[in-house]
């Protein structure tokens, strides 16, 4: 087990390094662009005095690495900001301040985060159940009509962009059939039942597209396992089909499913942005789209970093799970 603990430690260190590298890339891309960085950061409606002030805050006179260091320092220990009239403290992790809404970026993110997390985590449960279930079923029914039907549905799911699924569901389920109310976000702590009810449609939308990918992957890797030599061994020893598919083939498909889930977390976050915009859910995604549209640079950078943090975290967790699931993997 010490080998495993060592692996977990190494993986954590790697995750931190990845995050640092990501922050460098993002900082360079957004704060080292040609043009008036202070003007861009402050926003189009800033007065020259405000721009000057922002330039001082970002220490634009310093060399790039010092500016980055200052930015990093803010994240780790916090920072003091001058708003012109007073000095405000931005405690760690400080991602800066939006000059357009005069709010601290971390504050904005924290109010929006629960919505996005509710959406993504709920949908993930759903897509894993739906996708893996469909995949197992179609591997089990391989060669029969029911498998073809399932494969067809899966292909349709793969080919429909998530916002089209959302639009159609909203129009049909909420508009025409009136089965569900139009989605809205109610905090879980306020009313768990309303929370779930309001998020049902967004969950379903996000889950359907992702579930198609998982169904395809699960089926493919189960069929791949079924073609391996050890399956032949168990057939030759009179082990029944149920045990071969349900025990041996599924076990072989487990590791790829975990790996895909990590890889796919990123694209699911992308899907969540679309769904929040479509259903008007006040999450990070909607805020990000808004920030991009009004060019609120500190908010954009902060959001990307926070999302990057979650993606890196998800990948690290998945790697550890993957290593546990596939003990053949050499831990390095």
């Amino acid at each position: 087990m010490s080998g495993f603990a060592g692996f977990a430690v190494r993986r954590t260190v790697a995750a931190v390094l990845t995050l640092l590298a990501l922050s460098v890339i993002i900082y360079v891309v957004f704060y080292a662009t040609p043009g008036n960085v202070a003007q861009i950061t402050c926003g189009p409606r800033c007065s020259p005095e405000q721009v000057h002030q922002v330039a001082q805050q970002l220490r634009l006179d310093d060399p790039l690495y010092l500016r980055y260091w200052h930015f990093l320092e803010g994240i780790v220990v916090g920072q003091d900001y001058s708003t012109g009239t007073s000095v405000e403290h931005c405690s760690a992790p400080c991602l800066g301040q939006s000059y357009q809404s005069d709010q601290q970026v971390m504050q904005i993110i924290l109010t929006k985060l629960p919505v996005s997390l509710s959406l993504v985590i709920g949908a993930m449960v759903l897509w894993l159940l739906l996708g893996v279930g469909t995949g197992i079923l179609s591997a089990w029914r391989r060669g029969r009509l029911s498998e073809r039907v399932l494969t067809g549905i899966t292909l349709a799911g793969l080919s429909t962009p998530v916002f089209v699924i959302g639009l159609v569901l909203m129009i049909v389920v909420c508009g025409q059939l009136e089965l569900l109310p139009f989605p809205e976000y109610v905090s879980f702590s306020d009313d768990p039942e309303q929370w779930a009810w309001g998020l049902l449609l967004p969950w379903l939308t996000l889950a359907l597209g992702e579930a198609a990918y998982f169904a395809r992957l699960t089926r493919a890797s189960m069929l791949e396992t079924l073609a391996e030599d050890h399956i032949r061994t168990f057939r030759a020893y009179g082990v029944g089909e149920r045990s071969i598919v349900g025990r041996h083939a599924l076990r072989g498909a487990l590791a790829p499913i975990i790996a895909l889930n990590a890889n796919d977390f990123g694209s699911a976050v992308g899907g969540a942005v679309l769904i929040e915009s479509l259903f008007g859910l006040p999450g990070i995604g909607q805020e990000l789209v808004h920030a991009v549209n009004v060019v609120d640079l500190p908010v954009v950078v902060g959001m990307v970093l926070v999302i990057g943090f979650f993606v890196v975290l998800a990948n690290a967790v998945a790697d550890v799970l993957y290593a546990l699931a596939d003990r053949r993997v050499v831990l390095t």
Partner: protein, 530 residues
Amino acid sequence: MSLVQVTDLTVEFGDLRAVDGLSFELAPGAALALVGESGSGKSTVASALLGLHRGTGARVGGSIEVAGTDVRKASDEELRRLRGAKAAMVFQDPLSSLDPYYAIGDQIAEVYRVHTRVSRRVSRARAVEVLDRVGIPDAQRRSRSRPHEFSGGMRQRALIAMALACEPELLIADEPTTALDVTVQAQILDLLHTLREETGMGLLLVTHDVGVAAESVDRVLVMQHGRVVEQGPVAAVLGAPAEAYTRELMAAVPRVDDRRTPSEASDEVVLEATGLRREFGRGKRTFRAVDDVSLTIHRGETLGVVGESGSGKTTLGRMLVGLLEPTAGEVRYDGHARVGVNPAVQMVFQDPVSSLNPRRSVGESIADPLRARGERDEKAIRGRVRELLERVGLEGAHYDRYPHEFSGGQRQRVGIARALAADPRVIVCDEPVSALDVTTQAQVVALLGELQRELGLALVFVAHDLAVVRQVSDRVAVMRGGRIVESGPADEVYDNPQDPYTKQLLAAVPALDPQVAARRRAERRELAAA
């Protein structure tokens, strides 16, 4: 009543008739070997005995009766009860034949439970019992290990344990030792022998290796193109074959005790290695594949390098030609220290599939050394390539053909032609015949010998097969764990081995004569006891 009764069996895959009117029977407790080269249909027969072709689209004709079950007519349920319980199968590659994700004990227990419906605990205990029986030390603890934690030989033992779990009447072993080193092969064959003596189960052994058959069975059936060529008692069929094909086969089998007419070696040293060492990995994981190896190769002679898997023989070969740089030590060609590759030192590779670029015609591949040397005259290039193709026994018109149009043996000839195109003085052959059937093997070995005499080539012949190495070598070096444990003139090393490992290796080589085989078996027991 016989244990296995096969009458007029045919198996067809699409247009290919893999088995064509095969009949044989096996008495309870008897042992029969199906011997044949690749494509003879021997493994197909083994699968057919357990009805494994069901649902794969293969067409099976004739009748198969195994332990009282009519395999072709049996219901799926009846077939399931036959498989594993009355007739159990051991496969070639023990690693891929076990589920990598479950403990070995659990896999054996699962099979046992399918047939006996006993409790989990009882079946687990049975698994430990059979693992102990096949000689897995500390079976209770080791039964919780997964396949990748076992060595190759241990895995094959575990598979045999799985076969034993339900005390079958028939054991079908499909090339059970082909993936194993020769010393491990001997252990597994000895184990099968002992188990058969103790349990009285019947054995159907499928193998390409005549020696393995001679070691293990009473009767042998020689197959070719899906048909029976000849069958009868081992001593009769192998000792005095009646059919031309069997005679050809037996003539091609290299024998470890045959002396070789030495080649005309000179004293001129062409290649010399001193203190070669090669490490892989870094830090704590450093692995020394080759450790302090020195050797000299003279003009016109063949040096055989023999060793089991992991002995470092391939790494050594690649350092000699310059494909790998040594971590320490140096290779001197013609007296000069050498870095990187040198066209005068060529290589023939093991795998006839991957050694030729599938997207280039064989002529283009052979022309590579000519073009690389700066030859621009297309006519001269074509002419030289044709000449080389003809020299290795192919047709000059094959220039524009692609590798997939050739058989394994022919591809190996193309590989040799490509090596010759560079006008080499040394050719390192890395397992050049191990992927080939024995009759093809003999032809390629003969070709290398001819070329050597004609061109005064120095050959380094790297191989795991002791008999083949003896057939071709003037001097041999035995490698183990990256070091040379013994070296000298071939006859000396083979007839009077000094190092205990060399003795062990030689004792493990399967003999063609059943009586010699029995004597070797006794010798191995002594060596193991010592």
